[in-house]
Symmetry: C2
């Protein structure tokens, strides 16, 4: 069994391979060519934290993958990051453990951002004059960098509840060539951007329907559990295109769950990202359309990113 | 994160500590002082195999544990053992991965045998003239050696479907001081033994009620999944003492599930091993009683054995 540290994973990491394999993973998922059982969950009260175990395999793959991801929300008090994690690559031929990827959550952050890039490649409008970010944490950093695969636009407006954090974000992202303007109100960020990514853990809607201009795409990443919400119900209900990573998950506990459960959207209107990725001609957006992609995170992303990294490192061992 | 190989685990392993901690684990389990979610499961068709993920923690413990166990039933064709596995010890304070125990299934085999020893210590009759074993695989080897903590008896009768395998078993166990007689029929093994351990994957009853003499204890280890059965229903129904590692599991898919689901036993008659271990005076067996302990394997055993091994190794790091 190979034990592979984060720096080795990052050194071997090919963004193009990861993008391609996660695209294929979404397609396999939507074709139901995967075996992905319900997510395992452990909760902790004091200090508050949780652990998710996502696992499964793509049919006919020589591997299966088990991902462990933890979030402990008081870790900053002991100078540790909130999130941690690892992935196990196992043989689906013999059950043998093949590799431990000690990615410390980096592969999860990365595969989440790759889904955002894939959504933007498929759904965002042609002319993006400004990218809008709601939230400026770790995931916003990953999302913005991966958006380079979807658009050459480097002009960014960012809003977060903390202007100080937004300013730090702007400074940091400048190193990657982005001109980021911290915004004092989310309405301005939203109304002036054509490609918006939301990455907050908000439990009440931030973006109002009125703010969103025709010809806008929004990727909603923050709402990945019951009770979280970043977009107003009426915005979700009125969207011309409604994409999701997983119909089951998104209708249960994603961004669109609120509007769906309130009976404001028809399930037939919702299209899985894997279906769109498999047939780019399926959806043609008009220049005035508003599109939303709700990403809750599916185990198939973990499975393919771990497998891709393992194969790339194995080739070099 | 420490990565600990099987030989290091075995070198640091203290049988007495493990016995004591698993005893405490069963007690905590029966007092519902544990958080142990349903077992995760993945099945594979070609080659046939499965993977079980058991995880959880004992309340107030600084650790939680995730165990991965695989069984691939054609592995002998590629000269690999059927079973494999590993355990992850994680911090319940920060979510950080602390150790990977590469035990290859050894800790699972061991914790299963320790449960057998604990059952025999509590439930077996005073005078054991002969130990009877039904099945002679890896788990039978572990069970027999651990029975030394329950009885000084070294005389053993073993029956398995293959006399050749029984003979190999007898030869191997002689090295540990056991006088093992391979038996040509299970009736003889059962009727002449006072402490019986069954470890076969049988799907139909092997031991008939008529064979079992008064004053016998049987620990049934083999039936750990739906459809498996080693003891006749009427034997289970007529037992004077009926112990289980987990009421929920045993009534659902353990040895006693068949008799229970047929309405032959009252749930109030079934006592959890953790309850008995917590109060040794609870059950007093008469000299003619027949007792049965059904072991399906509970995650708390994995949790405590991994934790105990990790703490012992950490002390030496």
């Amino acid at each position: 069994m190979d034990v592979i540290a984060l720096n080795e994973i990052q050194a071997a990491f090919s963004p193009e391979s990861a993008l391609q394999s996660i695209k294929e993973g979404f397609i396999a998922y939507s074709k139901q060519k995967v075996d992905v059982p319900p997510v395992g969950y452990l909760g902790f009260k004091e200090p508050p934290g949780d652990c998710h175990i996502k696992y499964g395999y793509i049919n006919d793959s020589p591997y299966f993958v088990i991902k462990v991801a933890t979030g402990f929300f008081k870790n900053h008090l002991v100078n540790l990051p909130t999130s941690n994690g690892l992935m196990l690559v196992m043989s689906s031929q013999t059950g043998q453990p093949l590799a431990l990827l000690q990615d410390e959550g980096w592969l999860t952050d990365t595969r989440t951002a790759i889904a955002g890039a894939l959504a933007a490649i498929q759904l965002a409008p042609q002319n993006i004059k400004q990218i809008g970010l709601i939230g400026c944490g770790i995931q916003a950093r990953h999302q913005l960098r991966w958006l380079s695969y979807a658009t050459p636009c480097k002009k960014v407006s960012v809003w977060s509840p903390s202007l100080h954090n937004s300013e730090n974000f702007a400074e940091e992202m400048a190193e990657f060539g982005f001109q980021v303007i911290p915004s004092k109100n989310p309405e301005q960020t939203v109304s002036e951007s054509q490609l918006i990514v939301t990455t907050t853990p908000s439990k009440q809607p931030i973006i109002k329907a009125d703010w969103v201009q025709p010809g806008t795409h929004i990727t909603a990443v923050g709402a990945d559990a019951e009770g979280k919400q970043e977009l107003e119900d009426s915005l979700v209900a009125a969207a011309d295109i409604l994409a999701v990573d997983s119909k089951d998950q998104c209708c249960d506990h994603g961004e669109i769950a609120h509007a769906f459960q309130a009976g404001l959207i028809d399930i037939d209107k919702i299209v899985e990202l894997g279906v769109i990725l498999d047939n780019s001609d399926l959806l043609k957006r008009s220049s005035t359309a508003v599109s939303i992609c709700d990403l809750t995170g599916v185990a198939v992303q973990d499975i393919v990113i771990a497998t891709t990294v393992y194969e790339s490192i194995k080739g070099n061992l």
